[in-house]
């Protein structure tokens, strides 16, 4: 599979995502600069973590105007797989590809630590190899990761089985413990935790692999 990892000015987990995909999972990776208007021939797109454009104004608020985001939107509209991690999630929300918003952590501080997640659905290309019966240990590293949406949206997300991951030990005040959500078409997912930073025993956990392995499995099925 060929992954396109978008590089915004200020992205800083682009290397992490590329390393996990290339060296741990043996996939091809193209780093795509934010001002390109084309994605090239990629099978999936990753919007990595970091502080795109310094996260000035509001996380992801400037990145959504990046030229590359038009291409990402078109790619998603055509059914392409798009994964937004942390800042990437914030950008997808700002760009309107996912519902809700990510606001300041309830404790008002940046938090970097391992959290426990449960896959809330296995009906998605990002979680199809996951098990609902187990807990996944994956780190978070964010200051604005509290998932927020109005009640109707939250009800809708749940009714449509679009919550991808939930925190077992909610670290940031996210409503209904939501750690990751899907779009209606289920080909776009955003999550605050960093699966790319939990892909080798040396990283302390390999549980993040489930997201990437699901993508690979989904691609084979498709």
């Amino acid at each position: 599979m060929k992954f396109g990892v978008i590089v915004f000015p200020g992205s800083n987990r682009d290397h992490d995502a590329a390393y996990a995909l290339e060296h741990v999972l043996g996939q091809q990776v193209d780093l795509i600069w934010h001002d390109s208007s084309k994605l090239g021939a990629v099978d999936a797109v990753v919007l990595p973590g970091g502080f795109s454009y310094g996260d000035y104004l509001r996380c992801g608020a400037i990145a959504k105007f990046s030229p590359v985001m038009n291409a990402v939107k078109k790619f998603a509209a055509d059914g392409g797989l798009v994964l937004g991690i942390c800042n990437g999630f914030q950008i997808l929300v700002e760009a309107g590809l996912l519902p809700g918003a990510l606001i300041r952590n309830r404790g008002l501080q940046f938090i970097c630590r391992e959290v426990q997640l449960r896959a809330a659905t296995t009906d998605s290309p990002f979680t199809c190899t996951a098990s609902k019966d187990r807990v996944y240990r994956v780190p978070i590293a964010h200051g604005e990761g509290c998932y927020f949406a109005d009640e109707r949206t939250l009800d809708e997300l749940e009714a449509e089985d679009r919550v991808a991951f939930r925190y077992v030990d909610n670290p940031n005040g996210s409503l209904r413990d939501i750690a990751g959500v899907l779009n209606r078409e289920r080909n776009v997912m955003g999550m605050m935790p960093h699966p790319e930073d939990a892909t080798e025993p040396l990283m302390g956990s390999c549980d993040g692999l489930v997201v990437f392995q699901s993508l690979l499995a989904a691609a084979v099925r498709a």
């Binding site: 000015p9 200020g10 992490d16 390393y19 502080f51 970097c112 780190p139 790319e196 930073d197 040396l202």
Partner: protein, 739 residues
Amino acid sequence: MSAAAITPDLIAQHQLTPDEYQKIVSILGREPSYTELGIFSVMWSEHCSYKSSRLHLKKLPTRGKLVVQGPGENAGIIDIGQGYVIAFKIESHNHPSFIEPFQGAATGVGGILRDIFTMGARPVAVLDSLRFGRLDGSPNAARNRRILNGVVSGIAHYGNCFGVPTVGGECIFESCYDGNPLVNVFALGVCRKEDIFYAKAAGVGNPVIYVGARTGRDGIHGASMASAEFTEESKQKRPNVQVGDPFLEKLLLEACIEAMHTGAVVGIQDMGAAGLTCSTCEMGSRGSVGIEIELDRVPQRETGMTPYEIMLSESQERMLLVADKGREEEVFQVFRKWGLEASEIGVVTDDGKLRVKHHGKVVAEIPNRELADEAPLYDRPHTQPGRSAPLDSPGYASPNEETALLALLGSGDLCSKRWIWQQYDHLVRSATVAGPGAEAAVIRIKETGTSVAMSLDGNGRYSYLSPREGAMLAVAESCRNLSTAGAQPVAATNCLNFGNPERPEIMAQLVEAIEGLADACRFFDTPITGGNVSLYNETLGEGIYPTPVIGVVGLMPTAQPVSVAFQNPGRSVILLGGIGECDEREFGSTQYAKVIADRLWGTPPKLDLEREKRVQSAIREIVNAGLAESAHDLSDGGLAVALAECSFGSASVGARVDLDSDLPSHRMLFHEAPSRVLLSTAHPEKVAVIAARHGIDAPVVGVTIVSEVGVSQRGKKLIQCGIGTLKEAYEQALESHVR
């Protein structure tokens, strides 16, 4: 040119002595202009010139077979094999962090990161050594809390956004840092050996290019501020503190590394202390060339800036580089891609002078070498190191051992620092093998398949009682931390935080500490490849404890690190190095004396270098042979605190130990003699063989058990406590103090 007349008052305001001024006149062969006076004053400030310490810093060992670059550049460089090198250094940002904690600490991180990537190396790790006044029982507690909060969030703000993991450090609370917190930041970067860049101008006619942030009026005389004591008026110096923009720095990093790879860059230096002044004259001096710049071409944030202000501004996120003539466009192209401003502001000349023009008129013309390298050098008088602590114990009441242990675990210096490091992104780059809370920070170098271990250590209490031994103990501890993690210590960097060197008893502290560092680093074969001296750490005449902080780096094969925490019940607990010796005088420097007796007396623990080295060799061998399930060196708080810390793992495994010692029980449990490591193993007989080969005692003191810590002395019970109770005291102390 400014018309300001050079009066004795003006000279004094610039913190130049009459003798120093005469030296300037003789270098120039005339009176300096106002701009030139400013330029000399910052380059010859203590901060930039090391005029009080240079003479003694020469005593430090700086060479070794792995040293590629020693002191004198922006960072030291060590060869780690397979064509790769690491660049690292520690720097202080004490004075700015007191005046404006958030920006002071943030720009401290920014400054040291630039020092690393200006050498061509990508920063991959940051560690911080922090010292604050006490949060409890101090009239200044509220202010100290505010400073702690500001410093921690400043470090987080800058490092997290820049994308460098903050992987370790230390944090100490002591009244002597009330008016003078210490913020020492260590950074380490990696690059290929052939990609190292130097801050050296070369090639007459080559263009001098300015990149990054525009120059504003912020930070003017920051270097001079850092070279004076604090008074009541110091808060008015807030405009001297710079404001950082980590996003801009991240762009600067990527753009500089990319520009370096074009092959069109000849030399490059960041603009840190003393800004444009320092970068131009130092690059010129190192390359034995001149540099001529036109200030009209320097991108400016504000209008109407004078040459004096432009030359002395310490605006952050700026770099100066010299490019190959004819290939400027390749460099400009890279910076345009990253949305950064780059301007050609001057040219390399052959006359060895720094020539500064403004509106086409020369406003300063100074020989580079004299300005950069021939600053005054002082052999300041030094007597006996100052100390007012008594030699003998004042006497104190000893509570029962369990109460004492709980008090120590909940004390500022020993309690969990999770509240701090959880605010730092310590995982970005997915190379953190051992992060905060580990014995030593370990990051793997993905390119080589090996790892680098790092540890920062310093102990102001020890150093106050004996600067020489305190410095040696810091080196020993830092090396021991690395060895316990399985790493071979290879090089060091130092940050020397002291009071006013014009006082002979303070100067004596500095001299003795440097000599102690030199001896210990020579002994452990860890040459010092760079560092920083921060003097005048005094407020209203109150000096800090002399606080040499040492950062040692070590090399190791990449592997799952040995844990501090016990992993399984039923394992033998071995105290490598034995219970050790400690008399009542040596006990006066311990955390027990600080927390329980609230006093400081006596001498630091005794250090036997030979023995220390053997203990370290033994533990490295044990760990690398995979024989230790856990390993933790004994330091602050001694054996009892180490035992508790080893029990705080997720497995909730503690230990039951019985100690065979004649020492009074509180001294036996809490003394801080070095050269000891606590480990658990399923193979005690193999560990014993290795220890014996190194001539080191390795008594089996007990066994690991589930969810409890029990300690007795020759069968007499001293401590029996659930891990939960101990952990609660340890985990919640800092949070309850900062709220």
